[in-house]
Symmetry: C2
Subunit: 168 residues, 2 copies
């Protein structure tokens, strides 16, 4: 992936609804060429999708928290992410190094809902929880700075993340 693809991805992370026309102007190519490149970036899994960013306050989920989890019994098979995937309050699930096994980011409407959620998490995944409440969010999900020649290493990683049947 070179300069123009990076510019396209950068522009789309900042504004996911940019038209191909605007994008083409930005990167100095024809509309069709940009369109083709975006399709390939999507197919290769570099672009994984598009989403509206919402105010969690506005959709009545004003309480966020980080929930670190650890199995009750560390010898049991560890499938917490799958066991928890059905809970829509869980925004993100990270497998982490350190004392905890996973770190979850959750969004709820109230402390009472957080309490209920924690109980569900503990029983569904057979884990203990340690919760850190978010008081405010100065910024979140900022667009990444996209730079650096994209190595063959990074390209194969990208391909690996996409469907296995994409042409090089």
């Amino acid at each position: 992936m070179e300069e123009i693809d990076r510019a396209i991805v950068a522009a789309l992370t900042a504004d996911g609804r940019l038209s191909y026309t605007d994008l083409a102007e930005k990167v100095g190519l024809s509309v069709s060429a940009v369109h083709q490149r975006v399709r390939r970036l999507e197919q290769r899994g570099v672009i994984r999708g598009y989403a509206a960013r919402v105010s969690f306050e506005a959709v009545d989920l004003p309480l966020s928290a980080f929930v670190a989890i650890r199995p009750f019994d560390p010898s049991q098979p560890d499938d917490a992410p799958e066991r928890l995937a059905h809970l829509p309050e869980i925004d993100s699930c990270y497998s982490v190094a350190g004392e905890d096994f996973y770190l979850l980011l959750v969004r709820v409407a109230s402390p009472a809902d957080l309490e209920r959620l924690l109980q569900e998490i503990r029983t569904a995944a057979n884990v203990t929880t340690r919760t850190t409440v978010v008081l405010s969010t100065p910024y979140e999900n900022r667009p990444p700075k996209i730079n650096g020649e994209l190595s063959a290493r990074a390209r194969s990683r990208a391909a690996g993340e996409a469907a296995g049947s994409t042409a090089g």
Copy 2:
């Protein structure tokens, strides 16, 4: 905000590039009506923008980490978020309850870059850091479940988050 607006927001968090035509079909209104509602949701700050989701591996930022920070001198004015905002490696900044002051989510290309970033964070904000490396990400930034009557409380919260001059 009532049912139709919630359906619109839910649809757009799942697919930020949905056309007004598709959206209209989904919620059972005319294209114009949906268009109008989306504009109002954007103006009120319920929808804060749109973004492409990228594979961080593919854009050569394969290493994510959580960095908990705490001031060296807790009596100093606490303006860490502003002091750190210029660092593009910082994806998100959360003010948290508990022993730490802030929790940062960062994305870098390599352990060496993480080391450099931590030094920058420490000197820029005069803080100590405690870092938890992310080993893998089973899921991230899932669309929230949007439900519940949106109360007057939630509406004023949404308005407060948007520009102050929006009509009710």
